[in-house]
Symmetry: C2
Subunit: 346 residues, 2 copies
């Protein structure tokens, strides 16, 4: 069997001459490297979904009263309807403080190997608790989240419906679990690339197929693979050539802060490229706003390859085929505060 | 024909004895003072609605890139799903600055005589432009709104669909018009009080009917009347007795700033009491979080009446019957930024 690289070169060469067999070979190669996004939300381990839990999770996701200021919700930085991101270099949090890294998209996050750029949360449930208590994000405490929700009378029935037969269901743990279940519904199936992976050769046009072949051949798919075209592993940023300090500032050593292992310096979770055309700016610093520039930087920093403008353009066109059906979400109607509800501290 | 006050006293007296004719008299009196919220969005003068315009307006209402920071949208302070407000004393705007007054609800605002606490905008269309260019709110400019939207390629088709046959439809005026049309859909029909006004005596229970009779008899309905149970006229705050400086600070002279007329000092638009149970805190300063306290203050400051705890309680119960069906809104899917899109200045 020829190497991945050789097959890709053959594919590239033959795409130019339009041979059908090569199209089939490219598809088979892609099907070995990537998987389509399933139509339905995947199950979460130890956190069985019910419609009532998902509805509660949606309410909490949009609930600004979970923050100390009552002005910031999960949706403030991971906006449903806007690629699951905030289109900021780094997010604005409590008292207009900036977060340390670019906010990753919530869309398809359920398929990532771990959460945050450094993978410090093992799953959505662990992640959901992080921004709540981060002083530069929502700046509350686990105890106050519970106190706040217990202080909004309408939540009692919503939690009771989500966690029936549980005597005291308003807990921080249940808050995180419900939010994670809602987030797991925020997937974007049916991208052109998904339809292609399912066997529809026409789902990608010739340029997109050439971009896909380049994406595989140049080595991008060595890290960006699987269901999320990324999100499945860790890799050092600047493995071949370090980008400038604006893009990779020396002060943020990535996963090293989690593992304290020298080999994890400047290691980050490989980001998913799903919906990447919707989620500028790029990289953990959010310093790159142009997808073409991001592709070119990846070529030099990760692959030691100087990609031509034409190659970058074709890869960008392929990346556009990773935009799937965006989640359609009806805004939840949140229960009112009453005179005794804990008040914001903006 | 007996005076309003006399009828109310008769109603009050007879409610205690449970006579049916008095219930009918109360309903007739209420029907003369108030109107139910219609099922459908009312038309706007000079701004004919189409589904495409309303959809565009919804997108713009949720569009954070209309603000200088790209972090604040109309919905940040007038939250759909949370009473149309932000539950803050005064709103948090650009760079965490506080607005000057409590954010009024967007729900049913279409029925108000004018917009803002001081009525400085004659309608929703004029209002919509205000926060966009206010330095403590969204801090942009009319020109930049247009530049920003033209810099997001996906909006071209959305504006073209909303304003067909218009050569250059992305204008500040069309932005305001579309937002106003969406806002006009944010009404809350079918409150218990609406059903009562339409003839269903059982829509209000005995306590609520007693509260309604008190509301009329004590004089509240002299200002809080019409479709919005308020919102239809201006009145001085503290007409009988000035509340404390925390609630009515001397520096904010209300409508005087608009008309420069001495008699308009400390005059404000009478707020609608629709959904009032959902929209704490109260008054233009947002200093009062307890609806009962707000009712008591109104009694002393506007009516010179010391309402008993029981009376305040019954009026509060009646006010609860002003909560209608909350708008159900599907979040719009916003078009992506591209490399050339103007970037946020947080």
């Amino acid at each position: 069997m020829p190497s991945i690289k050789l097959v890709s070169l053959m594919v590239l060469a033959s795409l130019a001459t339009g041979q059908a067999w090569s199209q089939t070979a490219l598809m088979k190669q892609a099907q070995g490297l990537f998987k389509p996004i399933p139509a339905n939300a995947p199950p979460l381990a130890g956190n069985a979904a019910t419609p009532a839990k998902v509805e509660l999770g949606k309410m909490l996701y949009f609930e600004p009263r979970l923050s100390e200021s009552h002005a910031i919700s999960c949706n403030s930085c991971h906006m449903v309807g806007m690629g699951g991101v905030d289109l900021q270099e780094t997010s604005l949090g409590h008292r207009w403080q900036h977060g340390g890294r670019n906010a990753p998209t919530v869309y398809n996050a359920v398929f990532d190997v771990a959460q945050f750029w450094d993978g410090r949360a093992k799953d959505l449930e662990q992640q959901a608790g992080g921004p709540l208590v981060n002083p530069v994000e929502m700046d509350t405490t686990e105890a106050h989240v519970v106190e706040q929700l217990k202080g909004i009378p309408g939540y009692a029935a919503v939690f009771a419906k989500a966690y029936p037969a549980v005597p005291d269901p308003i807990t921080f743990d249940n808050v995180r679990k419900a939010i994670a279940l809602f987030e797991a519904t925020l997937t974007t199936p049916n991208a052109p690339f998904d339809r292609y992976l399912k066997g529809d050769e026409k789902a990608l046009d010739a340029n997109q197929q050439e971009g896909l072949a380049l994406f595989i051949n140049k080595g991008c798919a060595a890290c960006h693979n699987g269901i999320n075209v990324g999100g499945g592993m860790y890799a050092p940023f600047g493995v071949v050539e370090r980008p400038g300090a604006d893009i990779l500032p020396p002060g943020d050593k990535g996963r090293f802060a989690v593992t304290k292992t020298v080999s994890d310096e400047y290691v980050f979770r490989v980001p998913s490229l799903r919906n990447i055309a919707l989620t500028a700016p790029y990289f953990h610093t959010g310093k790159v706003w142009d997808l073409r520039q991001a592709v070119a930087i990846m070529g030099s920093s990760q692959l030691g390859a100087k990609l031509s403008d034409e190659e970058v353009g074709k890869i960008e066109v392929f990346l556009g085929a990773l935009t799937g059906d965006q989640p359609k979400v009806a805004l939840p109607i949140l229960p009112p505060s009453v005179a005794t509800t804990p008040r914001p501290k903006p």
